[in-house]
Each structure stands twice: as structure tokens, then as C-alpha cells.
């Protein structure tokens, strides 16, 4: 019989023999994104195997900027994602608060509609959304079109509702007895207590908006109101476009999120897990 420490050693070796190569494979595309973004065009399209970064990032980015006015689109993306996140956090936490802590006429119906339609594919609504916003309202290429329609997302409502309903009710009763108004209870007691949940929600919402592709693609065709993913996507498949440039765009879109992910991993993970489980 093998001793306990031998078994543990074998297990440890086996575990890493599987995981380390897999991890390298999984990191490879992100690594290559960085490599390509720093290589000159002739190195990318040469027959040599290029696996290490070079120093051409600035040049490549200048090419991208010339192709699309990329900086402006990044600015649009930042504004859209930020405003969307802030507004959505407020809307969904207010709604989540109401659904968690009040008994009111119609509550069951509201919840049933939200839950019942949650798993419907987005494609079911995207066509009417487009018709309404672009044709009926004539609001294509506007901040409104980029920010407001995606606010329907109900995951935040359920997420916040869950968080609020786990708080002890006596806390809010205590405030009520003290004459604190309901909106003050929400703002001054409930929201501060939900801070970790809100952090997770902010991250999820910001990321979703930052990476959103289909809706901005449909609703915007003016270069100055394009979001960065749409601008970048419009280059893919064109001939005579700088692939090094495209890769710098991909890096600009990705690295800040990766950095945030490293710093806020706990909140990311909490947000994703809760989003799926509801």
C-alpha cells in the first residue's frame, strides 16, 4: 500500500499535468492578441512563427485611429457603459426593493411577468425595439438609443431583490418606528447594506454594456456615435485593413476589463454565479 503522502503527491502531479497545459491553451488567444497588437503587419503575415511581442503598438494604434477614429468610439463606449450602469443600478435596485420588501396588489403578476419572460431569447424583442426606436421615434444614432432600450434587463431586479429580501426585516421596521421615510430607508439603510451586491451588479452591467455588440450595431451607423466594438467589428473582413491595428483595438477593449477582473475577481464571480442561479 502507498503511504498517504505518496498518494497526495501523485494526485498533485496529476492535477497539474492536466491543468497547466489547459491553462496555457486558454491563455493563448489573449497572449496572441497582445503579440499581434505589437507586431508590424509584415511580421503577422509572414511565414515565420511569431509568438513574442514587439514594439509596434503605437504605430498599429495610429493605423486603427486612421481607419475608424477609434478614440471617439472608445469615448462613446465609456459614456454609454457608465451611464447605463448607473441608471440601471438605480432602476433595478428600486424595483428589487419594492418586490423584496412590500406586499402590494399586483406583486404576483409583476413577478410572474418578469420571471416568465426572462428566458425568452433577446431576438424576440430586438426587431420591434429596432422598429420603435429607429423608425417610430426616429432616434437612431442617439445616446438615448444606445442607453435606454437595454435598461429592460431584469437580471438586476432579481439580483437586488434577492439581496434585499435576505436582510432582516426588523432593521427596516426599526427605521419606520423612528419615523424614517420609506425612500430614506431605501437610500440610507438598504442601499448601503447592499454594497457588495451592488458592486457585483455594477461590474456585470458595465461589462455587458461595454461588450454589447448587436444592439449598437443595429441602431447606429454614424461614425461619431459608434461604440468601440461596432467600429472594430466593421473593420473585420474588410480588405486593406491593418490587422495589427484591429488587435490594438481588441487590446484596448479587453485589457481594462481583464485588469478590473483581477482586482475585483470576487465580485465578478459572485455576480456571474448569482446571475445564473437567480
Amino acid at each position: 500500500m502507498r503511504s498517504k503522502s505518496q498518494t497526495t503527491l501523485l494526485r498533485t502531479v496529476g492535477l497539474h499535468a492536466v491543468l497547466v497545459p489547459l491553462a496555457l491553451i486558454w491563455l493563448f488567444p489573449i497572449w496572441m492578441m497582445i503579440v499581434f497588437s505589437t507586431q508590424p503587419e509584415n511580421a503577422i503575415f509572414s511565414s515565420n512563427l511569431v509568438l513574442l511581442p514587439s514594439d509596434q503598438f503605437a504605430n498599429n494604434f495610429a493605423l486603427l485611429q486612421a481607419d475608424t477614429g477609434f478614440l471617439r468610439t472608445v469615448f462613446v463606449s465609456i459614456v454609454v457603459a457608465t451611464v447605463y450602469t448607473v441608471v440601471s443600478v438605480f432602476l433595478t435596485s428600486m424595483a428589487g426593493w419594492a418586490l423584496a420588501r412590500y406586499n402590494f396588489a399586483g406583486k404576483g403578476v409583476v413577478l410572474a411577468i418578469i420571471l416568465g419572460t426572462l428566458t425568452l431569447p433577446y431576438f424576440v424583442v430586438v426587431i420591434p425595439q429596432f422598429i420603435m426606436v429607429a423608425r417610430d421615434f426616429g432616434l437612431g444614432n442617439t445616446w438615448f438609443a444606445l442607453i435606454v432600450p437595454p435598461l429592460f434587463n431584469s437580471l438586476g431586479v432579481l439580483f437586488m431583490r434577492q439581496s434585499f429580501s435576505m436582510m432582516p426585516g426588523e432593521l427596516f421596521d426599526a427605521a419606520r418606528v423612528e419615523g424614517v421615510k420609506e425612500w430614506q430607508i431605501f437610500l440610507r439603510v438598504a442601499l448601503p447594506m447592499a454594497r457588495p451586491t451592488i458592486a457585483a451588479l455594477c461590474i456585470i452591467l458595465f461589462l455587458a454594456s461595454w461588450n454589447n455588440y448587436l444592439w449598437p450595431l443595429l441602431i447606429n451607423n454614424r461614425p461619431d456615435m459608434m461604440t468601440a466594438p461596432v467600429a472594430l467589428g466593421s473593420l473585420i473582413g474588410l480588405t486593406r485593413v491593418s490587422w495589427g491595428g484591429i488587435m490594438t483595438g481588441a487590446v484596448v477593449l479587453t485589457l481594462p476589463m481583464l485588469f478590473a477582473f483581477v482586482v475585483l475577481q470576487r465580485h465578478f464571480v459572485a455576480g456571474i454565479a448569482a446571475g445564473a442561479i437567480k
Binding site: H16, V124, N211
Partner: protein, 286 residues
């Protein structure tokens, strides 16, 4: 109206207005649209126009077939891999846990466009790094963009790369909610690690894996950006055309909103049916 009801709707109304305008109403409107002939103005009511076309449209069936192929191969492979990863990443023997998790979870934050661009470049037939690496081990260059099977494999690979970590996070959170003492008791009973996995871990994870499957099915039914960007709008020759892409074309290239709505509802119906079947197959045996 009671005071609490008034207060509650005070908090709810802003969200409900948006929700009604941009989710509930479009769901209804879209259903109505699917019964309109929208090829030419003015739109006319013609219930069989779109639905009649749908059931005989070879392009639709091509997209449907491709989507199902991706679904049947990609979802099981990805969920199995995600479960394996979650279990391995949860092991207390793991060194450099943070880096390991980062490697698999990082794709979750990479946007569709960014990763589509990288995959397209990596899998480029002539100068792509993948073919160069394959050449090192003696594999002839694969024409990822002109061979239908290779193109399909590329889509499946890309989607798996992007989403496996996401599912692993969910499964991992399920794993971490299993109390440690269950395993300690099993170890004392001389149950091997492998058996512990199959007889303790998997049954306890079933509900959460089921959620992952359903989310993945819904996601796959809407696959759009990958075939749009990586395989150049569903190429070669429609070999990677998905339902999502087909809908996009009908709705936003041809602007045939009625037909696109019928396609959208078909996607929804298929997703729901598959989800229900999943929940039924995966239900608690008790």
C-alpha cells in the same frame, strides 16, 4: 389604494415603464409582426405568409441544421469540460490557484468582437499561428475559412473557449456550497475519490449543471457574432450560417421584419422546448 401599494409602485414604476416599453411590448409586437407581410409597404395582415414560407425555406433549414449541430456537439463538450475544470480548480492540492482561475475565467470578460478578431487572425489559413503550430507537429495546413467542416469546428472551438469559464464559475459556486464533511464522511467510509465524484459531487451538482445547460442552449440558439465575424458572415457558402445570423439577415439586411419575427419566435420556441426537455430529463428521480 393602500399606502404600501402606493409606496411599492413608487419604487417600481421607473423600471416597469422601461420593462414594459422595451421588453413586454416588443414581445407582443413581434408576435403580431410575424403574421404580417412586410416585404412591401404597406404591411398587410397575412397569417400564412411568413409561417408558410418558414416551413419550406431551405435557407432557414440550413441555419436550423447548423445551429443544431453546434448545439449537440458544443454544449455537452463545454459543460463536461466546465464541470471537470470546476472540480479541478476546487481541489485543495492546486498551486497558484489565482493564476489558474484567471486563465479560464479571463475569456468571460473578453467581448465578442475582440475575441472574434483574434480567432479569425489565429485561424487564418495561410499565415495563421494555429496552422504554423500544427505544421510543427506535421499536420498539413487546414483551410479554416473554406472547408465547411473546419469552419464549423472553428466556431465550436471559439464558443467553447469563450464560455467554458463562465460555466465553470457557476459550477464552482455550486461545488463550494457542498459541505466539506460530506466528503470527510465518505473518505472515512473508504469511498474512492473517483466514486465520490460520481456518487456525491455529480448528483449534488445536477440542478446547477442543468441551469448551465439551459443557459447554454439559449445562448447557442442566438449565436450571431461568431459566425458573423469569424467565419465571415456564415461562410463558407452558408456552412456556418446560424439561426441568429439568418434572423439578422432577414431583419436587418433585407428588412423583412415579419419573416424575421417568425424566425425569432421559432428560435424562442425551440429554446423553450429544448429547455423543458432538459429539465424533464434532469429532474430529480424522486
Amino acid at each position: 389604494m393602500r399606502a404600501t401599494t402606493r409606496t411599492a409602485y413608487g419604487f417600481l414604476t421607473p423600471y416597469l415603464l422601461i420593462f414594459a416599453a422595451f421588453w413586454v411590448w416588443p414581445i407582443i409586437y413581434s408576435f403580431y409582426l410575424s403574421f404580417l407581410s412586410t416585404r412591401v409597404q404597406p404591411w398587410t395582415f397575412n397569417p400564412t405568409f411568413n409561417w408558410g414560407r418558414l416551413i419550406i425555406d431551405p435557407a432557414f433549414f440550413n441555419a436550423f441544421k447548423n445551429t443544431m449541430i453546434i448545439l449537440v456537439i458544443q454544449v455537452p463538450v463545454m459543460i463536461a469540460l466546465a464541470t471537470l475544470l470546476a472540480v479541478l480548480l476546487n481541489s485543495h492540492l492546486l498551486k497558484a490557484r489565482g493564476i489558474m482561475r484567471f486563465a479560464f475565467f479571463a475569456p468571460v470578460v473578453v467581448g465578442e468582437v475582440a475575441y472574434a478578431a483574434v480567432f479569425r487572425l489565429m485561424f487564418q489559413a495561410d499565415f495563421g499561428v494555429i496552422n504554423k503550430l500544427l505544421a510543427l507537429v506535421g499536420v498539413a495546413p487546414i483551410s479554416w475559412s473554406s472547408n465547411p467542416t473546419a469552419a464549423m469546428a472553428l466556431i465550436i472551438t471559439a464558443v467553447t473557449w469563450r464560455w467554458v469559464g463562465y460555466n465553470a464559475i457557476i459550477i464552482l459556486s455550486g461545488l463550494q456550497s457542498i459541505p466539506e464533511d460530506v466528503y470527510e464522511a465518505a473518505t472515512l467510509d473508504k469511498v474512492s475519490k473517483t466514486r465520490q465524484f460520481f456518487f456525491i459531487t455529480l448528483p449534488l451538482l445536477r440542478p446547477i449543471i442543468l441551469v448551465c445547460v439551459v443557459l447554454s442552449v439559449i445562448g447557442t440558439m442566438q449565436l450571431f457574432a461568431e459566425p458573423f465575424l469569424i467565419t465571415n458572415r456564415g461562410g463558407p457558402g452558408g456552412a456556418t450560417e446560424t439561426l441568429g445570423l439568418f434572423l439578422y439577415r432577414q431583419g436587418f439586411t433585407v428588412l423583412n421584419f415579419g419573416y424575421a419575427s417568425a424566425v425569432a419566435y421559432t428560435i424562442a420556441a425551440i429554446a423553450i422546448v429544448i429547455s423543458v426537455i432538459n429539465f424533464w430529463l434532469g429532474r430529480d428521480p424522486k
